[in-house]
Structure formats: C-alpha cells, structure tokens
Amino acid sequence: MATGPTLRPRAPWHPWLMLAPTLAGLGLFAVAPLAVAAYSSLLRWDMLTPPAWVGLANYRALARSGEAWRAFGTTLLFSSLVVVLTTGLGLGLALLLSRPGRFAAFARAAVFSAYVVSWVSVALLWMWLLDPDAGLVARAFAALGLPRVGFLTDPGAALPTLAAVTAWKITGYAMVVFVVGLQDVPRALLEAAALDGAGPWARFRFVVWPLLRPTTAFVATSSLVVSFQAFDVVRVMTQGGPAHATTLFVYAIYEQIFLNLRVGRASALTVLFFVALFALSLLQFWALAARARGAGRKATPPRPPAEAAPPPAREAAP
C-alpha cells in the first residue's frame, strides 16, 4: 500500500494554530459579546449614568412582568407558523413547478423573486395590500362579502399575518431547495414504483418523501433561523403591537435597549434568548441522534445464531 503524507500534526499545538483564526472570530464576535451581555444583565444601566450592580433583579423583573415568557411564547408560535407555511408551500410549489418548460421557469423565477427583495420593502408592500380601508386584500374581502379584518390591528390576527408575510418572502428559497431535492430523486426508483403499480400519491408517499427528508430538515431549519431572527417586519408593520401581540423576542430586546433605554434588562433578555436557543439546539441534536440510532438499528441485519450468544459472564466480584 502506498504511503502518502501523514495528517498527524508535527506538534500538538499545530491544530490549535490552524483553528486560531476561526476561534478568534468566534471569541471576538460571539463569545465575548455574550459574556458582556451576561455581565450587563446584572447591572442597571442606561448608558448615560454610571451602571449600578443589581444582581439578578433584571431577571426577577422580567419574570414578574411575564415579558420573557410572553415574548418566547409569541416567538415560538410565530416560528411554528413560519416553518409550517414555508415548508408546506415550498414543497407544494416545487412539486408543481419542478418540470421543464418556459412557464414553469417563469413561475419559479417569479416565486423566488420575493426572496431577493429587502425585508423593509416587503413589509411596506404588505402594509399597503393589507390596509383595512384601501388595501387590495380588504377590497377583495369586501367584494366577496367577507367581514372586514384588521390584519395588523386585531391582536388575534396580527401574528398570523406577520408569519404569512414572512413565509411569502422566504417560500421562494424553500421552493428552490425542494426543486433541487426533487431532481436528486432517482428516476429509476420512480419508474420501478410505477411499474409496481404505485400511483402518484403512493410514489410521493413511499419514494419521494423519504428521500426528501434531509431537504425538508434543511428547509425547516433555515426557516426556523429566519423566524427567530425576525425583526424588520415587526418594526415596520406593527412595532410589536397591537397590545404586544407581535412582540417577538428580538423585538423585545430592541424595545428594552432602544426605546426603554434599559441595557441591563435587554441583556437579560439576550441571555435568556441564548439559553432558550441553546436548549432547542440540544433538543434537536438529541432528536437527530435518536433518529440515527433508530435508523442504525433498522439497517443492522439480524445477527446470525452463532453471534447471538449470551454476553460473557461478568467477572466474579472479588
């Protein structure tokens, strides 16, 4: 066997040297700000007067007011809506438009075009469309005899409306990813399934969908990331209202630091947001690991009888 250059480092610190640029970037732009935020969360500070040490008072105030829970609940609901809408619409559009032809190409480009428009433009466009008096949507509702809906003014409607606008903007991206995923499905499998008598639904259910799972996971994760970062649509369309119905976590942090001038409370919210995201990430890793273990068990062939011997007896205790 030919021996190539070894990948073993010549000195123990060489890997650290290679990692240093990345570690420095992470340290400077992720870990250090988080540490500063954690420290600031223990202060009462408005950036004008000297900071005062208040211990956990900011966390207690957030717990007492229910603000953190409310913002987290609102964000989870918003994210769930965005992920479901984006994934569902993206997949549906990909199935419809993943075919040759000019019309399909035009339709794909049209759907994707929303993705490249800035968030502020999208927000302003939808504010105009959803205007309860003069907007196109209101007029369409009126023409159809439907009741007047305050899409952005009704506390029950505002959050789903923002989720729908967000999904509208990012669905084009999801669609493109799904189109690529669909193109990776081997035609031979589909033809074999068809020969076995599988109809379109059965081919989708038992061939396409299992093969699209990694793509779906990617689309869902990227939509989740976008939804957790949502700020612009809230800032432009509702400013967190009506009655805090659309105060997502990031907007709550903005509100505390830029409108209420509370560095400590904004930092406490940031730390809580980090903890929540970290917990969600752990949950996701755990779920993926569990699935991998499950898949591994399914893929393992049954052991031949000779190998199915009982485990060796433990050594006798001394």
Partner: protein
C-alpha cells in the same frame, strides 16, 4: 507583496491604528471654510422638516462664522435612542431637540449643557407656559437646560363640512353625543367613525387631569390620576367598544398618529385629536374645511404642552457649543420663531414672535391657530421627574393600548401601572 513591503506595512500598521484611535478620541470642533460646523440632529418630517431646513439655510447664508448641518434622525424616540448611543460613544452632536418629558432625565444624568451662562440666555423673552420653567412644576429654581422651539398642544380637529365650528364639543358628554351622530355604518362595519385618537399617553394624561386627577401625588408618588385616570381610560373604552364610535388607529407611536391624520383626511374619521403641529398640514391637505378647537373639558379644561426643546449636549467641544448657541439665539428670535409658528402650526415660543404675528393680523386670518392659544391657557405643567418618560413610555402607554384594544378592566390596568412605576422607582 515583497517581504520588505510586508515588514514595512506591518510596522506601520500599529502607528496608523494609534493615529486613527487618537483622532477618534480627540474631539476638536470641525471647521469648514473657516466656519465652525454644528451638527443638528432633528426629528421633523414632511412640512415641518421643509420649514426647518429653510430656516437653517437662511441662517447659514446670513453669517460666515457658523455652519449648521442638519441631519434627520427618525421620530422623537428613535432620535433619542441615537443621541443616547452617540453620547455613550462620545460622538454626540452639539445640538438636538428632545421631547419635554425627557428633559428632566437627561438633565439629571448630567449630559445637558447648562445654558444660563450663555450670552442673552435670560433675555430671549420666551412665553412662560412654553419655556422650561413654565413647562414643569415649580419645585424651586433650576438651571436652564432647554429652550422651547416646536412646542404644541393637543387639539380637536373637526371636519368642517360635517360639524360647524360652533358645535365643537365642549365636554366629554358633547364629544360622545357628537361621535354617535357622526358615525356611519356601512355593509362591512363602520364606514365613518365619529372620533379617532392615537392611544397615547399625551391625550390620556390630559383627560386624567381634565377629570380632576394628577399624575403624581404630593410626595412624588405615581398616582396616574387615581380615579380620574380610570375614568379617562374607561371613556375611551366606552366610545370604542360600547358606542363603537371611536376607532383606535392602527400602529403604535407616530405610525398611529399618521394613520389618524390619514383617516381624517380621507373622511374615515369625522373628528380626531392630534397635535397642533399638524395644523397646517391638515389644513393644506384636506378637501374640506378643517375646524380646530381645544379639547373638551370634564371637571376642568386641561392639556399638557407637547413637542420638543432644543438642548446642547455637554460633551460637544466648546467652540461647537458656542456656535450652536449662536444658531439657537437666532432661531428663537422673533422673526424665525414667528415664521416657524405661522408655517407649521407650532406655538410661537417668544413674546416677540407672538407680537409680530398679532401685528400681521395672523390670528384674524387663522382662527384655528387661536384655538391652539386658547388650549395653551389650560396648560398643565409636567412634573420634573427623571423617571417621567419611563413611566410614560414603558409603563403607562403599553397598558393604555392593551386596555383599549382588548377592553380590559381600566382600574386593573392602571393599578398594575402604578405598581410597576413604584417598583421601578
């Protein structure tokens, strides 16, 4: 790059960084063509912005010592956030304007330049209800930190084609009856609301005082009007939910104010409450005659003066502060202050400006501006408390919005606000 070049660059880099850092730390007054440049951060949009920029241009052209460079910084509270951040970073502008309720907070934080030592500071002839001393409660002599410029009062605006000026509501009961008369219901809901007002602390605070309350108790504790505050909030809820004659506008903060104006101009609201600052804008853009009137009274007439004060920021270089003061003296003088008031609807801040307007017969030609002066007679001073703007922005205003939109118990809402204000204090 050769190794020599790399070595030279590497040795020069720290020097360059040090030079940049020292340039960043040192704040000398910027000069252009021998003139001291003064940054003015402002928050006016539309017509008011046009007028301010015109005044600045004339000031810059009229002398050769100072160059005022105005920069738009968003609405009042966006601008405040930016000023605060700039102060923390040590790059604050020399001159800006801030809402009245924020002045005590900034003054107590020590970031405002005391103005009484500047030449002519006590001789500007400012109108007492509008200047710093008159705008805040009399708790002893206080350093001068702020000069009034765009000062306004809340006004009731009526669609003159629907309501003659003589029928402007004088009491809350009148307003309720008028709103009921003017509301028109269409197929899908209300085609025209009788009344619309931004759910804002400014209007609620006026109503709480009109109903006989005070925002703070004798010892400075937040009472938020007591029962009068509850009555004011309940009145809005009655109009919005029982009578269905009042529309709470969409959006928050100044978005809600814009929506209110647009609804009035489009005929979707027959009467609104908004600031005198929009007087000229509404008059010029309405397709119907606009009638302005003081807010209706309840137990008594009352309103708080709103708008902003000019302030100098202490950390600016002395030459810039001197230059900014030159602009302030000029713009608060009778001519520019009168022009500002005439072209925007804000109140004339000095006696000289007011007398010029009287002499020109301005108030005979503009009866709506007389309504603003009449409202000023019922002006109520703000308490001089550093926490005032926090109580307003963070504690009361969100609860007002929630209580009105969701029809929540007004007493519970204000009890919670009082508790939060006490805990925060």
């Amino acid at each position: 790059m050769s190794s020599l070049g790399r070595r030279a660059w590497l040795s020069a880099a720290p020097l360059a960084a040090a030079a940049l850092a020292s340039a960043g730390c040192r704040r000398d007054a910027e000069r252009e063509g021998g003139r001291v440049v003064v940054s003015l951060w402002f928050s006016y949009g539309g017509k008011n912005r046009e007028v301010l920029l015109e005044l600045v241009r004339r000031f810059n052209e009229g002398q050769a010592r100072v160059l005022v460079r105005p920069t738009y910084q968003g609405d009042y509270f966006e601008a405040l956030a930016k000023v605060r951040t700039a102060l923390a970073a040590g790059v604050a502008p020399a001159l800006t304007h801030v809402v009245g309720e924020v002045v005590p907070y900034l003054a107590e934080a020590g970031v405002l330049e005391p103005l009484s030592g500047y030449e002519g500071a006590r001789d500007l002839g400012l109108l007492p209800p509008l200047d710093q001393a008159g705008s805040f409660d009399a708790a002893g002599p206080r350093e001068l930190f702020a000069l009034p410029f765009n000062r306004s009062v809340p006004l009731a605006y009526l669609n003159g084609s629907l309501v003659p000026a003589a029928q402007a509501p004088r009491t809350w009961a009148d307003l309720r009856a008028l709103a009921r008369d003017l509301t028109r219901r269409g197929g899908g809901g209300e085609a025209r609301f009788g009344f619309e007002v931004p759910i804002s602390w400014w209007f609620w605070a006026a109503m709480a005082v009109q109903a006989g309350g005070e925002l703070l108790g004798p010892a400075g504790e937040p009472t938020l009007g007591g029962e009068a505050g509850v009555e004011a909030l309940a009145f809005w809820q009655t109009l919005a939910h029982r009578d269905r004659t009042m529309r709470p506008p969409a959006g928050r903060d100044y978005n809600a104010w814009q929506v209110t104006n647009q609804d009035f101009l489009a005929g979707r609201a027959a009467t609104i409450w908004t600031s005198a600052a929009f007087l000229r804008y509404l008059e010029e853009n309405a397709s119907f005659p606009v009638v302005a009137a003081p807010l209706p009274a309840h137990a008594r007439p009352a309103a708080f003066v709103g708008g902003t004060f000019f302030v100098l920021l202490r950390q600016a270089p002395p030459a810039q502060k001197e230059a900014a003061w030159a602009f302030l003296r000029w713009v608060c003088g009778p001519g520019p202050a009168a022009e500002w008031a005439e072209r925007t609807g804000y109140l004339p801040v000095s006696r000289g400006a007011y007398e010029q307007m009287l002499a020109r017969g301005f108030y005979e030609k503009h009866p709506n501006d007389r309504a603003a002066l009449a409202q000023l007679e019922a002006a109520h001073p703000w308490p001089w408390r550093p926490e005032l703007f926090r109580v307003e922005r963070e504690i009361v205003e969100p609860r007002l919005e929630r209580a009105v939109l969701l029809d929540e118990d007004p007493r519970a809402a204000l009890d919670a606000a009082r508790r939060a204000a006490r805990e925060d204090g």
